[in-house]
Each structure stands twice: as structure tokens, then as C-alpha cells.
């Protein structure tokens, strides 16, 4: 799944969708994930990095990741053909 290319994100977690005017404030983790996704890394690459850097089980991460993607979808920030 890819973040829409026109979505503007900042290092402090602010997200702006220039097509709709929607804006969101994410926490530090959200900012980090968005930057990683925008940089072109695959989901598996990002998850691998999280597992290396944080004390979290693979199962828990999968559940959180699904939740994260559903939030992005709900916020209309994911490419529809993804």
C-alpha cells in the first residue's frame, strides 16, 4: 500500500491532503512511519525495521500495522489502486 503521492507530511507528524484540505496530527511514531512509507520502502521493510528497533512481537506488530493501514484508508491517504 502506498501513501498518495500528493500528501504532504512533516517530520513532526502533521499531514495535509491538498486535494481535500483534510489535515491530521500524528504522534512521533506516525511521523516516522509516514516518512518511511513516502520514501518508497515496502511494508515488509518498514516492519522489519520496527522489529529491530522496538520491543514488540511480530504478531502484535501485524495487528497494529493492520490498524494503522485502516486508519490511513479511512483518512483517504492511501492510493486507491494499492
Amino acid at each position: 500500500m502506498k501513501i498518495k503521492s500528493n500528501i504532504a507530511t512533516s517530520e513532526n507528524g502533521f499531514i495535509f491532503n491538498p486535494a481535500t484540505g483534510d489535515s491530521f496530527s500524528g504522534n512521533v511514531m506516525a511521523a516516522k512511519l509516514l516518512l518511511a512509507m513516502k520514501s518508497g520502502k515496502t511494508n515488509n521493510e518498514i516492519k522489519k525495521e520496527i522489529l529491530e528497533q522496538y520491543e514488540v512481537s511480530a504478531d502484535q506488530l501485524d495487528r497494529d500495522w493492520d490498524d494503522w493501514l485502516s486508519q490511513l484508508k479511512e483518512a483517504n491517504l492511501i492510493e486507491t489502486d494499492a
Binding site: N6, A8, F16, P18, A19, T20, G21
Partner: protein, 350 residues
């Protein structure tokens, strides 16, 4: 290169920069930004307390105008007098309710040497609240269903058709969302007292409110179009804050409108984007909106472009603007002297 715009004298109406502001001050600000302080701005006002009269750093001189209900003869007489004093080059009317008269005398003004860039009476009529639904049906634009109310008794039929809530709209200005029959009846009487019948009952569409400010060249092309999402809305439904957005669907909608109507001049599309992404046209205002300065901030100075077209220039359409430019309106207590108010009240000019 000599600046051919440097000594233009431009008359502008809509100086009522209050809680439901007219577009005049934003238009003047845009013109000052484009052409500087060598142009002369003549304010045209209807009342002695329109704030723009007293904002002398923007408005060089202001004259009171007769109300639109007094007709075109007295309007032309007054404008001829002002022209004798000021040698006007261009007039930019900014109120819906005055446009009919200004369009009617546009040729006579042109003969006096005063240019304008206005829609035709026919163009004005097709986007009228009374005709908008029929226009949409004919040309394939989504427009909410409406019902014309000539008496309070008509509200029941509208309510049966649409269910509550219903949007109750004045013929020229003002609208409110009525959630009950009582609210709808009150709104009908209030709007009828100010603007007369028909009052319009419109189907309520839930969604995101978006406006597009655009400038048609009269040949089916928009020279400029900038979309804005309302972020903060007053109790009168006016945007108090908003942000520019860019969406191809919005561009196409405005371009379709310009192509269909050959719209000449400025206009504002009020749009509701519903949950399915359908764009409903709620209104088309035949003039600049009060937030027009945001188009300047985003990179397209529509009032300046209108001035250039009014004096006969052919402009290429702008091709881009910046999304994410935000405006936040504010109030300010401007201080002046009672002598200024006296001057306007007694002599009709300041």
C-alpha cells in the same frame, strides 16, 4: 518599461467589511498588491458606515451610491458625476443585488470611457437561485433539489419532498439550515422580509463545503480558478478560515461551467462534496467572493486579471496555484473621527 496600469482609476463596490463581508476590500487589496499605490481606488458605498470608506490607505475616495431599487437612471447620473470628478477607467461591482443595473448600463458606461467585465443578463439569470436546478438538469450538473416558497404554507410541501433538515435561502443572500417546521417558518418570514419571494427551500446535502473562485473570459475558458475548503464557518455560513486545495474534479467542474455558459467575468461556485465524492453545486455567485485575496496568495491574482481583461487584454489561463495556502479572517476596530462620518453622511463622499 512604463507601467501602463500605474495611473488607472478603479471604482469598487462592496466596502462592507463586516461579519458578513462584501468582497470589495479583498478586491482592493488584490489590486494594490498587483498595481501598487499609484493606482487610484474609488470606493462606492451604499451606507455611511461601510468600513472601507474609512480605510484611506486602501481607498482614496468614496462616494455613496443610490440603492439598486432606485433604478438605473439615478445610478447612471451618480456615476457620471463621480466620473466627472475622478475620471474613472474601470468599475468592479461586487454585490449580486446591484449587478442587474450595472450590466444594464455597461454600454453607456463604456461610452463614457468606463470599462467593466461583467456577465450578460442571460448569464446572470441562468445561475439565479430560482433557475439553478433547471440549469443543472439541462447541462448535467448536480444541483440539490429545490422548491420555491411564496408563502409559509408552501414549506409543508417542501418538507414532505425533502424531509428535514432543509436549507432555507433568501433570493439574493443569506441561508440557514432548518431542522424543524418552526425554524423553517421563522427563516421564511425573516428572508421574505429582507429579500422578498420566492424564498428557496433547498434539499440539504451533507458533506464538505468547498468554494471555487473563477474568472471566465467570455469565450468558454476560465482564465483562473482556485478552490478553497472552508475550515471555519460562521453562523451565517460564511468561511472565516479556509485553505486552498487542488483536485482535478473541481477544475473540471469549473471548466465545464465556463464552457457551458461562456461566462464573462468573476464568479464563485459553492459546492458540497458528499460522502460518495459527488460534487453538488449549491450556488453560483456572479462576482468575486470575499475570500478572493486567497487566490492572490496562492498565485493567481483574479482581480488584477479582471482589470487587464476589462481594458481589452487577452490573457492566457493561469496553469497552477499553490495548495495549502490558508486564510484566517479577523476583526479590527478601525478608529476615525466623527468629522469623516459627518462628511460621508451629509455630502455623500469622503
Amino acid at each position: 518599461m512604463a507601467d501602463k496600469y500605474a495611473h488607472l482609476c478603479i471604482a469598487v463596490t462592496g466596502l462592507n467589511a463586516n461579519d458578513n463581508p462584501g468582497p470589495g476590500m479583498a478586491v482592493i487589496r488584490s489590486l494594490r498588491q498587483a498595481f501598487g499605490n499609484t493606482i487610484k481606488i474609488i470606493g462606492l458605498s451604499y451606507e455611511s458606515l461601510e468600513p472601507g470608506i474609512y480605510l484611506r490607505e486602501y481607498v482614496n475616495k468614496t462616494y455613496l451610491l443610490p440603492y439598486p431599487t432606485e433604478g438605473t437612471t439615478v445610478l447612471l447620473e451618480r456615476l457620471s458625476y463621480i466620473h466627472e470628478q475622478e475620471n474613472l477607467n474601470i468599475i468592479i461591482p461586487n454585490f449580486d443585488s446591484e449587478l442587474f443595473n450595472f450590466i444594464k448600463i455597461a454600454q453607456q458606461l463604456q461610452q463614457l470611457g468606463i470599462a467593466s467585465f461583467l456577465p450578460s443578463h442571460q448569464q446572470l439569470a441562468i445561475r439565479d437561485k430560482e433557475h439553478l436546478k433547471a440549469f443543472g438538469l439541462k447541462h448535467g450538473f448536480r444541483v440539490p433539489a429545490d422548491y420555491k416558497l411564496y408563502s409559509a404554507d408552501d414549506i409543508k410541501q417542501a418538507a414532505d419532498e425533502f424531509n428535514f433538515p432543509i436549507v432555507i435561502k433568501g433570493r439574493f443572500y443569506d441561508a440557514c439550515v432548518a431542522y424543524t417546521m418552526d425554524e423553517a417558518v421563522k427563516a421564511f418570514h425573516r428572508l421574505n422580509a429582507v429579500w422578498g419571494v420566492p424564498v428557496i427551500a433547498q434539499q440539504y446535502i451533507k458533506g464538505t463545503e468547498i468554494n471555487i473562485a473563477a474568472l471566465g473570459n467570455g469565450k468558454g475558458v476560465n482564465v483562473s480558478k482556485v478552490a478553497m475548503r472552508k475550515l471555519y464557518i460562521t453562523d451565517k455560513g460564511k468561511a472565516w478560515a479556509g485553505v486552498t486545495i487542488k483536485d482535478q474534479k473541481l477544475n473540471e467542474l469549473a471548466d465545464n461551467f465556463a464552457r457551458t455558459t461562456n461566462w464573462n467575468g468573476s464568479y464563485e461556485m459553492e459546492i458540497m462534496n458528499d460522502a460518495e465524492g459527488h460534487l453538488y453545486i449549491l450556488e453560483i455567485n456572479p462576482r468575486f467572493p470575499a475570500w478572493i485575496y486567497l487566490t492572490v496568495a496562492a498565485g493567481q491574482n483574479q482581480p488584477a486579471a479582471l482589470v487587464k481583461m476589462a481594458i481589452g487584454e487577452e490573457l492566457l489561463p493561469y496553469d497552477d496555484y499553490q495548495a495549502g495556502k490558508l486564510f484566517v479572517r479577523y476583526s479590527w476596530d478601525h478608529i476615525t473621527d466623527i468629522a469623516d462620518f459627518q462628511q460621508v453622511s451629509v455630502f455623500g463622499e469622503l
